[in-house]
């Protein structure tokens, strides 16, 4: 009897029986929505007519690879990440340094930023992967804190650990990813139980740093202008203002129910620059209106709910912190990207998870889902 009961117990705790199917379903729906939007952008655009199939197929194939990554990562016990957190962290830093070395990292067409490796024609963006590496490292460090709440010393250690990749990403320059990293640190510190007082001090210190960056022109003028375009549209640079104007017109003209699939003039006539990447939400806003936009927001809300739920269910502080970090990452990316499209956040190059066209962004998002699943599946063991 005991034996039988024991077997049932073990069986019930097999990780594979505890996949979070609900999370996967929401991610799948969001990915399909992304492909539908991508098709509408590429198929109707006179300039891009030749590429629509290529883009949709490529994005679909990337999502397929993403699904494999989910399976692969979920089948590993997430606690291994804790063991190798130091290596993962150092590898990310090495990649961020390597990408700045001329000849190794590739420069984007504008010649300003140097952000990715080009290996066999595939672009690999280390700053995207860095986000997950930082989450793993911080979760490992914070979960080892034995006091009820982190001491100031712990806090300084954590901030120092996060600051290295943050600065490296910032000087690429990749302001978008810097914002995401900052939000991840803050989110994880909150969940780790940091005192409000300490958080306030940290925030003030951060603001001072940003002020210094402006003063010392670490941030270049064109970046400042883009960042502040949403605050002062009249004096914004032509380029940024145009992008924002067309974005708002696209979303605003969608109305309550949208102008219909493939019926959006802003989308069809290619008015919105970078619409298939950073501004993909405009395609949803114009074609499917408030209802469609809210549906996408709902999907994100559901994914974040599952992520925070996984954080809460985990019996292990490392799992909780990792899930919380991932939730923070998705939340800030969604908020800053859609906020940018709607003109309430600065224009930064943050992709919208699962929707924006681009390999690294999609794969990292799926890898994060794989981590969440791994935590969820092993919540009893």
């Amino acid at each position: 009897m005991d034996m039988v009961a024991g077997r049932v117990w073990a069986d019930e705790r097999k990780p594979v029986r505890h996949i979070d199917w609900v999370l996967l379903l929401f991610v799948a729906v969001l990915t399909v929505v992304g492909l539908i939007l991508l098709h509408s952008i590429s198929a109707t655009s006179p300039d891009e007519a030749a590429f629509w199939l290529v883009r949709v197929l490529k994005q679909g194939a990337t999502a397929g690879v993403g699904l494999l990554i989910v399976v692969l990562i979920a089948s590993f016990d997430y606690r291994f990440f804790k063991v190798y957190a130091g290596f993962i962290y150092l590898a990310a830093i090495a990649a961020l340094i390597l990408v700045k070395i001329p000849g190794i990292g590739a420069t984007d067409p504008s010649g300003v930023a140097q952000r990715w490796f080009s290996i066999a024609g595939i672009q690999i963006t280390p700053s995207e992967i860095t986000k997950l590496c930082v989450i793993v490292m911080l979760a490992a460090v914070l979960s080892e804190i034995r006091t009820p709440e982190p001491t100031l010393g712990d806090l300084i250690r954590v901030v120092a650990i996060a600051a290295v990749p943050l600065v490296l990403v910032f000087i690429q320059p990749d302001i978008g990813t810097s914002i995401v990293l900052t939000a991840v640190v803050v989110g994880m510190l909150i969940v780790a139980g940091t005192r409000l007082r300490h958080l306030v001090v940290l925030t003030v210190a951060g603001l001072v740093m940003i002020g210094l960056a402006f003063q010392l022109h670490v941030i270049q003028d064109f970046q400042v202008q883009r960042l502040t375009a949403f605050l002062d549209r009249a004096n914004a640079p032509e380029d940024a203002r145009y992008n924002l104007d067309q974005s708002l017109v696209a979303v605003g003209s969608g109305g309550l129910f949208g102008r219909g699939y493939l019926q959006g003039s802003q989308t069809n006539l290619d008015y919105v620059p970078r619409q298939h990447t950073d501004f993909i939400f405009t395609a949803a806003g114009e074609q499917f209106g408030f209802v469609g936009a809210m549906f996408i927001l709902l999907l994100y809300a559901l994914i974040l709910w599952r992520a925070i739920r996984i954080a809460a269910l985990s019996k292990d502080p490392f799992g909780t912190l990792m899930a919380a970090g991932i939730a923070s990452m998705f939340a800030i990316q969604m908020f800053v990207n859609i906020g940018m499209v709607l003109g309430i956040m600065p224009i930064t190059g943050i992709p919208l998870p699962f929707l924006s066209y681009g390999g690294s962004s999609i794969l990292v998002s799926f890898a994060a889902i794989g981590m969440l699943e791994s935590i969820h599946m092993r919540r009893f063991t």
């Binding site: 989110g187 017109v249 605003g252 994100y300 969604m334």
Partner: protein
Amino acid sequence: MERASSRLKVLALLVVLMFVALSTRLWFLQVLATTQFQREARDNSVRFAYSEPLRGKIYDDRGRPLVENRESLEVRVNRDAMGSDAEAVVLRLAKLLRVPVRVLVERLQTNQYYSYQPIPVAEFVSPHVRDYIGEYQELFPGVEVVPTSVRQYPQGRLAAHILGYVGLIYANEYEKLKSKGYEQTDVIGRTGVEQVYEQYLRGTQGVQKFIVNSNGDTIRALGVRDPTAGDDLHLTIDLRMQRDAERQLADGLARIRGTPTSDRSALLKANAGTVIVMDAQTGAIKAMASSPSYDPRWLVTGLTKAQRTYLYKNPAAPAIDRAIQLPYVPGSTFKPITGLAALKEGFATMGGYYPCDATYTHPGDTSGTVFHNWTTANLGSMSLSNAIRISCDTVFDKFGSDFYFNYVQNQLNDTSLLLQNDLHQFGFGEPTGIDLPSEASGLVPDPAWAAQAKMADGTKLFPDGFVPGIDILTMIGSSYVNATPLQMAQAYGAIANGGHLCRPHVVDQIEAPDGSIVKQPEDRCGRTIPYSAAQLAYIRSALGSVVTSGTASCTFAGFPTSQVWVGGKTGTAERPPYQDTSWFVGMAGKSVNAPKYIVLAMVEQGGFGATGAAPIVRHVIEDLYHLPETHTGGCGGGDL
């Protein structure tokens, strides 16, 4: 970490605030302020500015230009936009352009174009005209002056049939081609290489996209795609040879026109003709002249009524390329080919002798049909070579009978059509595949054709079906068999080069504007004819003897055959009710074993081959080899 769940609630709260912020903003943009944005979306509009690519240029085999482009100020008229007072506009325009009103009206009165297609009516107008029309646009509704690029022909009307011309896209063409990106104002290649290589010559249109506001002011230039010029054609044509061929053809026609017909009842009309110079080893056309011709420059602005009548409603049909677009009865120039067929099938041998009687009757024929030689004398027995040299018909008539018997005996056998099969192997009865449009197939008469051939009044041409006379007449290239001059050149080329049927072609290679080669010269000599080297050499010697001591010996008297070997065959084809077609198909080169060129002349209503076409060939060969031009003449008729 005990407080993790309460801390997670803080995180969740922050996330909820994010959603509240986004939803509120969405509500504002999409519900409260949507009318304003919808208006802005409507006011957004895109304009496209197209820039036309330069059409590819056409060069001869040494890179000398045959067709180029030239900047022009073009006057275009959009008939739909002329308003109610179109007549007054045309009058004013005619006065301004200093062209007769009639000419303008002729160009505009056409149903080949849509009424809203701007039709070019004048080229190379002065900037003054442009400024005037621009200044008084209200006097010229529907009229615009645009800078454009038009075809220029530095060699004048040279090689008009080969080059072809370009013209404004017709309404029916536009319907078919608009999916390929053609515009209503595009020109398109018509006939010649301009038509066949349209896709290469055309180039890619440039596009500039502008975003304009409701006032039409440009807000922003979006994408730019610069136009890419079309690819350049490098022809096999040699400019000098082409000029010589055209001159010799024109001179020859003029000379023949002054001479009497064979029965001396009238003067020869010599209304049309062709000269072909082909590289016998490759099939490359070095020169190809067709007369009468026309000037491609007429078509740059569209034709006047007189030009259109001349080109299209004229019995002389100058638009037709005689070299490839009309089949002719080949006459005795067919004998080297049918002679080879007889050798192959064993009806003749290189050592055999055959009677050249005054008449020939098919054995067992009871209809009383008698085939006559060109002379009433009985010339005795002779070899196949001699039969070619003096062009004896009755020798070949007998071979025709042999082929017919073979057919009768093997009627259920696929290979029973030996003669027809042999001729098809030589490329007859099908287009050669030259890279020029509207090539004729010619005809190899066979039982299927005989079964349905009708006379002009609709009665059957052959009530008894496939009769021996068809094979007999085909053997001497008479009556029903016909071939384009180019098919003849191709077949003689195979005899000259040792058995390779090379597809004739006029484009050697195609070069992109950046200098890269789009289309390499290719080997077009993959087809072979099944004759032994000895058989082909035997026929080439016979062709040589035609020139030295045969039917063309008078015409080639004094020709330095020790310097340049020449062989060839005369042909005089009856073509009732017209005067005889005059042929000479020649080959020239270092020796009988290595003829380099096929040189062919054909003159419609030109009389005897020896006196009509052969002198033209002689002069063209003299030009090819820079030999002093001799005066030919005084050679009598009677030779076939």
